[in-house]
């Protein structure tokens, strides 16, 4: 038993068996897991425009989710200058990976939902919470100013405090109807500790006990939406030009 040769052989056989077993299991479940991940991410995006869909995202089946993306969702990838990057789909952009690149090299995913006759622009933003990263999906109406909906998620915020940005629907519904431009100046939306003044167009209430996370959301929105500015201004200008004289 104490023989070195025996120990070595045992370890080698055990390692080989375990390696084969785990690799085999991973291969068998890889496709299913990737599909699950894809649908999970797509559901997160649909949550921001839940109002425009028939029914809630929770009740939609996986096939429904895929169907919405295939028929009603246009996918564009932008670079930091506001130009469209050809040959890429928004769903392939991993925001976590992009965030690690130096700012000028990042790519941005943009989804355009057309299922209800209007264009709703869905932006992705990512930032830092208290403990780890936070991210969000912001949907803009076709005036590119009013927020149609927002959805947030986080890597490791405290349940009941920072995690409320995701768990408490009341936080994200506040953003509906808020505007990110004050006349033509980009002001984004502030998250105010202690509560925003009633009727404020560019502010929402913060979360008690989650000031750092709420500040993180504010900063994330400001920076993240600003990245899309070059493209959004282009869109606004071209839509003004194309408006038929009536």
């Amino acid at each position: 038993m104490n023989n070195n040769g025996y120990v070595l052989t045992f370890i080698l056989i055990m390692t080989a068996t375990v390696a084969v077993l785990l690799t085999g299991l991973r291969e068998a479940t890889k496709e299913g897991a990737a599909r699950n991940e894809d649908i999970f991410n797509k559901r997160a995006i649909l949550t921001a425009i839940e109002d425009k869909l028939d029914g809630s995202v929770k009740d939609m089946s996986d096939e429904d989710v895929i169907q919405v993306f295939e028929s009603d969702m246009q996918q564009i990838v932008l670079n930091m200058e506001g130009n469209v990057v050809e040959g890429k789909k928004a769903e392939d952009i991993n925001m976590a990976v992009e965030r690690k690149k130096p700012e000028p090299n990042r790519m941005l995913p943009l989804y355009i939902y057309e299922g209800d006759g209007n264009k709703t622009y869905i932006l992705s933003v990512r930032g830092s919470g208290l403990w780890d990263e936070i991210w969000g999906t912001i949907a803009l109406e076709n005036d590119l100013n009013t927020i149609a909906g927002a959805a947030f998620d986080h890597a490791g915020e405290t349940p009941g405090l920072g995690a409320e940005i995701k768990d408490n629907p009341k936080f994200s519904t506040q953003f509906k109807g808020k505007k990110i431009y004050d006349d033509s100046e980009f002001v984004s939306v502030d998250v105010v500790k202690g509560g925003a003044p009633t009727g404020a167009e560019h502010a929402v209430d913060g979360i008690s006990g989650a000031t750092v996370t709420a500040d993180g959301v504010e900063e994330m929105l400001y920076r993240g939406i600003q990245y899309y500015e070059p493209y959004l201004s282009q869109l606004k200008q071209s839509s003004m030009v194309m408006e038929p004289a009536q």
Partner: protein, 239 residues
């Protein structure tokens, strides 16, 4: 000569599947030898996961599976594992099983996987698993070891779910949040069973923010240990 030896040879009793000793292996860890309140193992995850009941249930099921089967495999191999690498081999068995759980969860229920991804990996470091392998599986037969593993997993799960129920109800006012059977129990709106905005008895109530933090789990477990020791006479002299 040979005949006498054969007659004198004791007949090896076939051990029953669920005899009294076997049942004891399953019931001891529930109370007399509870892994968390008596053996004081596995506290770390008991603090981290228990803010909500639903994830606690999922983790408990995972721990029962991992503890049971790693105990089974360790016991099957106990006469072949070289003493020098004993702990390493146990660790590999545990890690492999946890990875199997993780891959299966990713395939079957992705949203739950996302919610629990960190905690599942932490099962590998859960002292209960390694503790039972060392204390029991290395010296006992496979079926017994399996029962011991499952029993300890269930004992752990009972405490976990108990703590989580208290923390979720008093910290968030809900039960089973995040699952298909979510119940809103007490809170300031009409969605809750007890609406503190309109109820004359509970108008003063608001969620206890301490319950949301891991420290609350420590207090609750401490109180559970105190209560258990007061009522369970067998535990009077246990240190």
């Amino acid at each position: 000569m040979a005949e006498t030896t054969v007659k004198e040879q004791e007949v090896q009793e076939k051990e029953p599947l669920f005899g009294p000793k076997e049942r004891k292996l399953l019931t001891d860890p529930l109370n007399d030898n509870n892994p968390i309140t008596v053996q004081v193992l596995g506290i770390c995850s008991a603090l981290a996961v228990t803010s909500l009941v639903y994830p606690s249930i999922v983790i408990s099921v995972a721990v029962v599976f991992v503890t049971g089967f790693s105990a089974l495999f360790t016991s099957l191999l106990r006469n072949y594992i070289p003493k020098q690498v004993r702990l390493i081999v146990q660790l590999v068995i545990i890690a492999t099983l946890v990875t199997v759980v993780e891959l299966t969860l990713k395939y079957l229920n992705y949203p739950v996987y996302k919610q629990l991804s960190v905690y599942i990996g932490l099962i590998i470091t859960n002292c209960i698993v390694m503790g039972r392998l060392e204390a029991f599986s290395m010296a006992n037969k496979p079926w017994r070891s399996f029962l011991d593993g499952v029993g300890n997993g269930v004992g752990y799960g009972v405490i976990l779910i108990g703590v989580a129920i208290i923390r979720e109800i008093f910290g968030k006012g809900t039960l089973f949040a995040g699952s298909p059977i979510e119940l809103s129990i007490i809170g300031p709106s009409a969605d809750y069973l007890i609406n503190t905005a309109t109820n004359s008895w509970f108008g003063w109530y608001s969620n206890n923010n301490l319950m949301v933090l891991p420290a609350a789990a420590m207090f609750i477990i401490g109180i559970m240990i105190w209560v258990q020791r007061s009522y369970n006479t067998k535990l009077v002299d246990v240190s």
